[in-house]
């Protein structure tokens, strides 16, 4: 299998260029990979003026988005950047304790029948 496929397609340009926003980094700081539906929320005191200047506009935009808990997928869609880039930016903010990841109620939803019944009720009432 040609491992270079992803570099020759037209969309390769769109995938690569946004990583300029991360200083070329493609792996999240600390090695933690956020799941698509990990719930993130802004935390701690707002960054100081000096600290804020060190943040990129995208970092600041993410903090703004996450004033209310939201999923990583929602954040990526709202900020209109590729998921990989958003994961790197969020990891920066988590390391700086500006964003925290909320614990998940159902790590393995199949084993949570009560929650599943709630989902079922919710679907039926749509």
């Amino acid at each position: 299998m040609a491992q270079y496929d992803r570099w020759v397609d037209r969309e390769a340009g769109r995938v690569v260029r946004p990583y300029a926003l991360t200083g070329g980094r493609t792996d999240p700081a600390g090695g933690a990979v956020l799941d698509l539906i990990s719930v993130i929320v802004a935390s701690g005191p707002p960054p100081t003026a000096a600290g804020s200047r060190r943040l990129s506009p995208e970092h600041r935009k993410l903090i703004g988005l996450c004033q209310e808990p939201m999923t990583v997928a929602d954040a990526a869609a709202d900020i209109a950047l590729p998921l990989g880039v958003v994961r790197v930016l969020l990891a920066d903010l988590i390391q700086q304790k500006l964003i925290t990841v909320q614990p998940r109620r159902a790590v393995r939803p199949q084993a949570s029948p009560d929650l599943l019944r709630e989902v079922l009720d919710g679907l039926r009432s749509l």
Partner: protein, 215 residues
């Protein structure tokens, strides 16, 4: 993608936003985007490429009519319900080139919908294989296209060699109530399948572990 997602800690707190992930898989052009768009409260995240740019010479277009774009990243839609529950539907990339994204999508998922087109049934074999191997519960929904021959869902089950417990049903991916019924069938299936059944170990593989297993 070097390690498992970092929030895998158990906690019960009704005040928390509780999202669930459902994958929508199936062959290229089968209607995954349509299905997600039919029921989600937000528009799918469209990251489509026109085929003239991305797919010519790569994608097999026989039998899909005049479809001119394809999903190269993913569509997603959100269904928000009471008590801060939310269902997230993710349309899995429809081409072989994007298989590397599947473990990421499947991690911690509630289940999957395999959307099938009877004109090109073989296209959903990889998705069925994947979910069977991973132990992720799924249903097969046969999207009824105008002009496609009618098939009994049972015939589809036989053709796909599905486990007798796996639900197979007809649907219209454009129709909200039909899609709703597909999702209800999936959640009911997950509930039934779990009763008195030990979780399968491989259902809890992290993306990194699953990648190692698959290599």
């Amino acid at each position: 993608m070097g390690s498992a997602p970092s929030d895998a800690v158990g906690a019960v707190d009704d005040s928390l936003l509780t999202p669930f992930k459902i994958l929508v898989a199936g062959g290229f052009g089968v209607g995954k985007t349509t299905l997600v768009g039919a029921i989600s409260e937000i528009r799918p995240l469209r990251t489509e490429e026109t085929l003239t740019q991305a797919g010519i010479g790569v994608d097999d277009l026989s039998g899909v009519g005049d479809k001119t774009t394809t999903t190269v990243a993913m569509d997603f839609g959100r269904i928000t319900m009471a008590r801060r529950l939310a269902l997230y539907l993710f349309g899995t990339p429809g081409q072989d080139r994007f298989w590397f994204m599947w473990d990421d999508l499947a991690y911690g998922a509630l289940g999957a919908v395999v959307l099938a087109d009877t004109r090109r049934l073989i296209d959903c074999f990889p998705a069925v294989d994947y979910f069977e191997r991973r132990g992720l519960p799924f249903v097969v929904a046969v999207n009824v296209f105008d002009g496609s021959p009618y098939y009994d869902p049972e015939d589809v089950r036989i053709a796909l060699d599905l486990d007798p417990n796996v639900p197979a049903l007809l649907c219209d991916a454009r129709d909200r109530s039909s899609v709703k019924q597909v999702l209800i069938t999936l959640v009911e299936h997950v509930l039934t399948a779990e009763v008195g059944q030990e979780p399968q170990a491989h259902a809890e593989l992290s993306p990194a572990e699953a990648a190692a297993e698959g290599s």
